[in-house]
């Protein structure tokens, strides 16, 4: 081989000259011989005898150039011919390998950023989040500003500490008004994360004060899209929410916030150092070298407990606040980890099935071609030559599988992205990772070549041509692999079945409303409406305009929409226990509430069980309230709550005018929480009118019930909105999709596992068919004899079918206990179905049995159709 390489590099001209000299010598010698025998014109005779000299030189040149290439092409064409003669094998093996490669690549491409890629900050493993886990206060870990301010980084075992306030919607006015997202952070934010602006500078502590100079930093994509990516943007002024700010820097490209939320502009959160004690902030710290999460936790505990003593005991009992300190990585991936692990497990299962399948197929083919191998060895083929041929064959197979597998991976990723819930942001950005693809291809190629060559090595040293060799074992390794496949498929199908069951149950949950034919329009008014009068006027105009649309049955304005859970809420204890009852629940828990207009209950189809819904008269008087049935029960027991009143905190005295049926308000899979409905009056009441969203009235949804098609309603609303507030972005939808949102996550998990289960079934079926095929081919003579002796074709078929069912049963005998053990891990994803659900297990077993039957039908029929005369003759 090395000689060949050297030959290539040798000077071509030398070789040419040498060859000519060689042939010249030959001709001269021949001519001399002719001269000796006295022939006329010896030179011409010599040339004639030599033949076509040019052709000879050309052929020789050809051998210099491409002998190895020629060999390889010959091997390849031989392999291709082999594939064409056995198309079933080629298709099955390629498809199987492609499935394995495609699924593995797609899954690893997705799981890698989710689970394995570190966060995009220097030494990101040292970043931790410190906060209170109290979901009813906020869906993130938070600290009060008053608690956070006095904290010292060194005292907690931290190198540095910072806080930030999340992302809110804001308005940018440049050449045209734009709705963007603004993140508010402390001056130390970028430093703690270990990042630096790519242009300009970050703001200082002085600029982070309420009366400080107004500054802002742009994100990279806003800078490129809206400001042309020009460096002159530094120092220019922009108006955010009506406030002029100077741009002092541009943040690095691909910068991520700790909670992965998208943002366009970063502003100083500008908290007063000694004021605003009860504002929530999110806290990030960087561990000092040698420190740990435990150390920080033990340092924070006394501080946290000291803070808790300042809160009334019953509120603490109601909110259940817990101190939670975890690494930023854990915080980000925690929710997604189960789904990602599910993906990984599914893909590995599939890969195992795929490889065992291909091994099976190759073993079968190797055994059936051992005669050919023996013959060729006998005729002088070297082992190296045969191995090279087999390796070429496997390489071609892997190449075909690679192409198909890449296509499959791309398709799977696209599907993942479409199905992915919004809560898994990194999933949405998953792309085909070239690195992963290459690794998978390399592994598949190496494994493929090994499987293509190793099992056939034993056929190289064979003793005779043909007759003497017997098959000592009937089946050998093949059924074991097959049984493993069936077991793995059983696990996958059961898991998928359970998840599908859950989705079905979830979708069938009665929501307590009639959400059909209801269009939604959600919006957030900007700071132009920070004025109470203007805000009220807007809503009054909106109601008037909506009422004027022909063809609508009813409409309402609310601040939040069920069944999602992000409503306002108050601790139960704040209602003051007007009914004087006490229950086992005590004063625990929260009560949700919404601000609605009178048409709310009619529009959503929520029945009023006692009393009445709100009417227009209520809107100008003191606060009317409607309780949910659960709340009425809890407050007043069996007594009627109508006409009673209670205080809500210090601000509101509410009088009860009605009781509404319970509505799902914490998602579909949790029981509904107690809820109360307040009326949006005609005059600004309380302090709730003008707080920034999501408090206050500026964030709202208009609900419209109409039997007209959604497009008609949407268009009509769009026109009205444009007249009222042309720059307002409004998101249109319908209640059906609002509820559908709740199903996105479970549907995703179910779809994923279902896909893997399907692929696994296909592979198991292919494997079973392949093995059965081989078995039939091996036992042709035996079958021929049996048929000749009077057996019925149906009996032959039944015999093989029994074999297949036996393997399947053993596979199930392993698979079902495995399923029972493994499905416990997905318990948290299940809804109203037990992980040991017998119906699902039975269905999985049934599906596998049917698949097995379908797979072996063709080969078994082949067995039955064997012509005994032919087989007996040919052997």
């Amino acid at each position: 081989m090395i000689r060949r390489l050297f030959d290539v590099f040798r000077n071509g001209r030398d070789r040419e000259a040498e060859l000519r000299e060689e042939i010249d010598f030959h001709l001269a010698e021949r001519a001399a011989l002719h001269r000796q025998t006295g022939l006329d014109d010896p030179d011409s005779a010599a040339r004639r005898r030599f033949g076509n000299r040019l052709a000879a030189e050309e052929s020789t040149r050809a051998t210099w150039r491409g002998a190895w290439l020629h060999d390889w092409i010959r091997d390849a064409s031989y392999a291709l011919r082999g594939f064409r003669r056995a198309p079933a094998f080629f298709v099955a093996a390629t498809l199987t390998l492609a499935l394995g490669i495609g699924a593995a690549t797609a899954v690893f491409s997705v799981v890698d950023p989710l689970l394995f890629r570190p966060l995009p900050y220097p030494e990101s493993s040292r970043l931790i989040s410190i906060g209170t886990d109290a979901p009813f206060m906020a869906p993130y870990d938070w600290l009060f500003w008053g608690t956070y301010r006095p904290l010292s980084a060194a005292g907690l075992g931290l190198e540095s500490l910072t806080s930030w306030s999340g992302v809110v919607d804001c308005d940018l006015s440049t050449s045209r008004p734009l709705r963007i997202s603004c993140a508010g952070t402390e001056a130390s934010f970028l430093h703690v994360l270990g990042l630096r602006p790519q242009l300009g500078r970050f703001f200082t502590h002085e600029e982070d004060l309420p009366k400080g100079p107004r500054v802002a930093l742009l994100s990279d994509h806003l800078w490129r899209n809206e400001f042309g990516g020009s460096a002159s943007v530094i120092g220019s002024r922009i108006s955010i929410d009506g406030v002029p700010r100077e741009i002092i820097g541009v943040l690095p490209a691909n910068m991520e916030l700790p909670n992965l939320e998208a943002f366009d502009v970063l502003l100083p959160q500008a908290r007063a150092p000694a004021g605003e004690r009860n504002v929530l902030v999110r806290v990030i710290g960087r561990l000092a070298p040698g420190s740990s999460v435990d150390r920080v936790t033990s340092a924070m505990k006394p501080i946290f407990e000291a803070y808790l003593t300042t809160v009334p005991a019953d509120v603490v009992a109601a909110i259940h606040p817990r101190l939670r300190i975890q690494t930023l990585f854990e915080q980000q991936t925690g929710n997604s980890r189960l789904a990602a692990s599910l993906l990984l497990a599914g893909a590995l299962c599939l890969l195992a099935i795929a490889f065992s399948n291909v091994a099976n197929l190759i073993l079968a083919r190797a055994a059936s071609r051992r005669h050919e191998t023996a013959l060729r060895t006998q005729l002088g083929a070297s082992s190296a030559r045969l191995i090279r041929e087999w390796a070429t064959e496997s390489l071609l197979l892997s190449a075909a599988a690679a192409v198909a597998g890449t296509g499959l991976a791309w398709f799977l990723l696209k599907t993942f992205r479409v199905l992915a819930p919004a809560a898994m942001p990194r999933l949405r950005d998953a792309t085909l990772d070239a690195r992963v693809l290459l690794i998978t291809l390399a592994v598949a190629t190496v494994l493929g070549m090994t499987m293509g060559v190793l099992p056939r090595l034993r056929y190289l040293a064979s003793s005779g041509l043909g007759a003497g060799e017997r098959i000592t074992k009937r089946h050998g390794m093949r059924p074991t692999l097959l049984i493993a496949q069936v077991a793995a498929s059983c696990v996958l199908v059961t898991g998928a079945g359970l998840l599908l069951n859950s989705v079905w149950n979830l979708a069938a949950v009665p929501t307590g409303m009639r959400p059909e034919h209801v269009t939604t329009a959600s919006f957030v008014l900007n700071t132009r409406y920070a004025n109470n009068d203007r805000l009220l006027a807007f809503f009054q105009n909106l109601e008037r305009e909506t009422a004027s649309i022909p063809g609508i049955a009813s409409f309402a304005i609310t601040d939040t929409v069920p069944p999602a859970g992000n409503t306002r809420s108050r601790p139960y204890v704040a209602l003051g226990n007007p009914g004087g009852l006490s229950s086992e629940l005590g004063m625990e828990g929260f009560v949700m509430w919404r601000y609605v207009t009178p048409g709310y209950f009619t529009t959503l189809g929520i029945p009023i069980l006692e009393g009445r819904a709100f009417n227009d008269a209520d809107r100008s008087v003191a606060s009317a309230v409607i309780l949910s049935q659960g709340l009425a029960q809890r407050l007043f027991g069996s007594t009627s709550p109508l006409g009673r009143s209670f205080r809500v905190g210090d601000e509101i005295t509410a009088s009860i005018v009605g009781v509404a049926a319970d509505v799902k308000n914490r998602g579909l899979n949790a029981s509904s929480n107690d809820e109360m409905y307040f009326l949006r009056g005609n005059t600004p009441t309380g302090t709730f009118l003008n707080q920034p969203p999501p408090f206050g009235w500026r964030k709202a949804t208009l609900l419209v019930r109409s039997s007209a098609p959604t497009s008609y309603v949407t268009d009509a609303l769009r026109t009205r909105f444009r007249e009222l507030e042309p720059q307002l972005p409004v998101a249109f939808g319908d209640m059906g999709s609002q509820i559908g949102e709740q199903l996105v996550r479970p549907r995703f998990s179910a779809a994923l596992l279902g896909m893997f289960a399907l692929l696994g079934l296909v592979l198991a079926a292919v494997g079973l068919a392949g093995v059965m095929n081989f078995s039939v081919a091996q036992r042709r003579r035996e079958i021929g004899v049996r048929l000749a002796l009077g057996a019925q074709p149906a009996q032959i078929r039944a015999h093989f079918v029994r074999d297949a069912l036996r393997w399947t049963s053993i596979g199930l005998a392993i698979g079902i206990p495995a399923s029972l053990a493994l499905t416990r891990t997905i318990q948290s994803l299940l809804f109203q179905v037990s992980p040991r659900d017998p119906a699902t297990l039975a269905m999985a077993a049934g599906i596998l049995a049917l698949t097995a039957l379908a797979a072996v039908w063709l080969p078994c029929s082949r067995a039955a159709r064997i012509d005994p005369a032919e087989t007996l003759r040919s052997e």
Partner: protein, 132 residues
């Protein structure tokens, strides 16, 4: 290519299913192999140059086989490329420079293998021949 002496009237059977030294091949390729086989045999007697090999074939086969000289050199270079023979420029007795070929160790081994298969095969065919 080896061609049979027309007037000698010998069957081509003896040469057609010739055992391949280098693996499974088509018809023309096996005939190429026959030539390579013969080259091996000639070189096993000692190093020789292209013309000498052609002459040896004619003389030793008593005129029954004649090497087509045009295909000799591609075959020689092919074998050289595969490392089965090696070549050196030497001076002949007549004082001219010629390229001498000789068997390598690998070549010798291959020759031994092929000789065995060839004798098995030809014996088998002979038995069949006589049995009919």
């Amino acid at each position: 290519m080896l061609s049979l002496c027309q007037e000698c009237g010998l069957d081509t059977l003896a040469l057609a299913p010739y055992p391949s030294v280098l693996g499974n091949k088509t018809m023309s390729e096996s005939l190429q192999d026959a030539l390579e086989m013969v080259i091996f045999k000639v070189l096993s007697a000692g190093p020789n140059h292209g013309f000498g090999i052609a002459l040896h074939i004619e003389q030793t086969s008593k005129g029954m086989l004649k090497a087509e000289e045009g295909s000799l050199y591609p075959a020689l270079h092919r074998l050289e490329k595969r490392g089965l023979i090696k070549a050196d420029w030497k001076v002949t007795e007549s004082g001219r420079r010629a390229r001498f070929y000789s068997l390598t160790a690998t070549g010798r081994k291959r020759l031994a293998q092929a000789e065995k298969s060839w004798s098995n095969l030809s014996r088998g065919i002979q038995l069949l021949w006589e049995a009919k």
